[in-house]
Symmetry: C2
């Protein structure tokens, strides 16, 4: 008997799965006799107990039966019948009867597949992916200590869905002093990272007729939330001053929402100018519209004066400010926050409570103590230095290898910047470059995937430098240059 | 100057909030002079530094100004103007311009207010609230140890949105052996508690035309999710055999979904009979419909043979099985799971990833190790004994004090049961009883609030016994009896 074991998990589970698949697929029909456990064990090179465990599981689920002294045989499948079972077990979501899935599930599925196809299977030697975070050993040690010390039975029942009161006070203070926000702790709601913030904001404000204005190119994670909530998406072009407010219609008849990343536009890195900030706020007031300000990486800044948040300029009347700790500490922490205009606090909390009640209380307490003790600020300074060095190394490597052929954009802040090839003839050739690079162990990411309904005028790449070790940067760029020489400039 | 301090948080924040409120409300107009910090400090009985901190904050936000040697004065508010500021700061969600909030936000808000109004402000001496969990000291100690030991930098980046692979294997094994489920780890998705499971399932399957059939009386938490997702709700009556399947229409033209709690119907505690289980599955097959099986407290059983899950009977073809660890370990943990039919796995994961990426990895690892080491089963046995004792004590106290006047329903399993007053003349009198009880420190909960569009035939109360200490049970019931004597039976 030929069993295909998939190599995942315990051996008896592999055998169990393999046999079940054969039964469901009809390869082992009703009354078919399974090999004696001793025989199968020998042929697979495992102990007999492993096979017996698999058989027991199949018996308990009614797939096979067998008394002592008698052979083990495949049972009749239940009335729903072999075909339908087999069909449903191997069905893809698309093969489900029509109208079975919600529209939002269909949209999310597309986004998810797009994201999965962007994940490379192979190991990349030099990976400039955006969104990876460098883990700091000192922070890990401190966090581990707090994590142990602060576990406490007083935090195990349901707590306030808005979040830990001390953490909210600390975040409000940090947002006021560090980001010029205009808020108190009442306006702060803790969520599971900025993605949940965006999803809840979309569910809070979007109606079927709502128009969402957003940046082009822009952040896919927010776009997906607005789209699944049922909004119409209206991209606005971005230039060196950030989103181009002159492209907004003066008056919008439908309910409208603006989504922006003013401190460091994603992905161009442009900082929204003051005059455009005022224009946005005036527009929002004229159209009774809210603005979502996503300050996804406002903590890291290398050159120039920090610009206070749009939320502060607006005095928190029409701006929902979204911040996160995932990019700053570590992604799997899943803690972010929203600062809300007062009339939105109660409905936001209601939706948050409905969606998953609250964020893990113990982790909130650990974060609160990490901030309160000053360790968070020290962490920011350490990481700021580390990222600054990587950024510097990356800029130098790019300039020395590519010199006049490229232009960098958005280098002053954050954890990424854009590279544009000056030669417009290269526009649209990202696929060759990215595919070939990946096959050579080099991870690079085209900016074209962040456009909704236009294409970039030139070939552009998004460079994240927070996840790549410093010593790999220069060799990675050297490799990229060699590749470009082969692909683009072999005739030069 | 009369400052009203609200007593929340640091003193300087209280002063800051109070002054800001007066400025925004126009009580302190433009150019009004604030008292010298020394004077205000004296009148409030705080140190001068506290007042200076509050003034600094107001200055940094542009509400007041003042140079050294000069008085501190209120600034002109920005162009958006005093009225509009004041209006928006004190606005309720209902006063927002029309069509500003989504419909689902409106529905969630109603549910949330209903829940908040059910929360008593005063301390209850005897509280029979359902949903509280008894915290076990041995479990706390063990959890704390694992929590410290397993914190590890390898878990800090983004992980699989479906959850920790080992935890999913363990849950699948537990569901197969303990609940008769028909699944493997591929079908298990980890979520933040069963509430997120229900919310995501609703978002996955509900379209504007979808009809959801659910139990009457039933669980409010799930109803809210289906309603916000836009479904039409169709309650089905419940009797001693569980939901009455004969009330289902033979054929449904629209897409349909069934939500049931077959192992211990919430709130009646009825166990769905085998013939009705088969009827449900046949109905689902006939109408190409999915079934959501919420096994919210399937872990605790005191009498009778455990009935295997509907999901197992169905072989996981049309049943989405929802389980949680919150009710079993502790609510703030926020870890639950869904076992999905295969074609739904991918779209479910897509929605989960879109909604908040993943559950905290470290907590998942701690839970996995807690289960793997056998401590979870030991915890279940300890808690089973404890809850069994409380349940026994509660039943005895009710029977000895009320004897023939009442009837208990659903006592065989779970963490709650129902009490019905036999006297039908008492139907509808829950408000008197509950309000008076609360004012005397006794928390009791009417079953009528769990009906969607009918009323219970008799006065019924939902008794949770997992949150109340054993020694408080008898005195609490004695108190209730005395209250009933006064309210209902004074003329007997």
């Amino acid at each position: 008997m030929l069993l295909h074991l998939d190599g995942r998990g315990a051996r008896y589970r592999q055998i169990y799965r393999s046999l079940k698949r054969m039964i469901l697929a009809g390869e082992l029909g009703e009354d078919a006799r399974l090999p004696a456990s001793r025989v199968l064990a020998q042929s697979l090179g495992v102990s007999r107990n492993v096979v017996l465990l698999a058989y027991d599981q199949l018996k308990s689920e009614g797939y096979i039966s067998g008394r002592v002294g008698d052979a083990t045989r495949v049972c009749a499948l239940p009335e729903s019948g072999l075909e339908s079972l087999q069909e449903r077990v191997t069905m893809t979501p698309e093969q489900l009867p029509e109208r079975r899935l919600s529209e939002q599930a269909g949209i999310a599925l597309q986004q998810w597949r797009r994201r999965c196809s962007g994940q490379r299977e192979q190991h990349l030697k030099y990976d400039f992916r955006y969104g990876e975070v460098s883990i700091d050993q000192r922070t890990v040690t401190l966090w581990k200590r707090l994590n142990s010390r602060l576990f406490d039975r007083s935090l195990l029942q349901y707590e306030d869905p808005r979040g830990d009161p001390e953490l909210r006070e600390l975040i409000a203070g940090h947002a006021r002093s560090g980001r010029g926000c205009h808020c108190d702790a009442d306006q702060v709601c803790i969520v599971n990272g900025s993605q949940q913030a965006l999803d809840l904001v979309a569910r809070l404000l979007i109606r079927p007729e709502t128009r969402v204005y957003l940046e082009e190119p822009g952040y896919l994670g927010s776009r997906a939330c607005f789209e699944t909530a049922g909004a119409g998406l209206h991209p606005l072009p971005v230039d060196v001053e950030g989103v181009d407010t002159s492209c907004l219609p003066e008056h919008v008849a439908q309910p409208a929402l603006l989504y922006v990343t003013p401190s460091h536009q994603f992905p161009t890195g442009a900082i929204l100018s003051l005059s455009r900030r005022v224009a946005l706020l005036e527009w929002a007031q004229r159209n009774q519209s809210y603005i979502v300000e996503d300050d996804y990486d406002g903590e890291f800044r290398y050159q120039g004066r920090p610009i206070a948040s749009l939320q502060g300029l607006d005095r928190g009347l029409r701006t929902l400010y979204v911040g996160t700790f995932s990019k700053v500490l570590f992604p799997s922490l899943r803690i972010g926050y929203v600062i809300l205009p007062r009339p939105l606090i109660e409905p936001f909390v209601a939706l948050r409570w409905l969606s998953d009640r609250q964020t893990n209380s113990h982790q909130q307490r650990v974060l609160a103590e990490f901030i309160r003790s000053g360790e968070y600020d020290r962490h920011l300074r350490r990481m700021g230095k580390r990222y600054q060095q990587r950024r510097q190394r990356l800029i130098e490597a790019l300039q020395s290898h590519f010199s006049e052929r490229i232009e960098l954009q958005g280098i002053n802040a954050g954890l990424h910047f854009l590279l544009w090839f000056r030669d417009e003839a290269l526009a649209g050739r990202e696929r060759d470059l990215v595919t070939q690079a990946a096959s050579e162990g080099l991870g690079i990411y085209p900016v074209s995937s962040l456009y909704l309904d236009s294409s970039p005028p030139r070939l552009g790449l998004l460079f994240g430098y927070s996840g790549i070790e410093e010593e790999r940067i220069e060799p990675g760029i050297r490799h990229l240059k060699a590749l470009c020489d082969r692909l683009f400039w072999s005739g030069d």
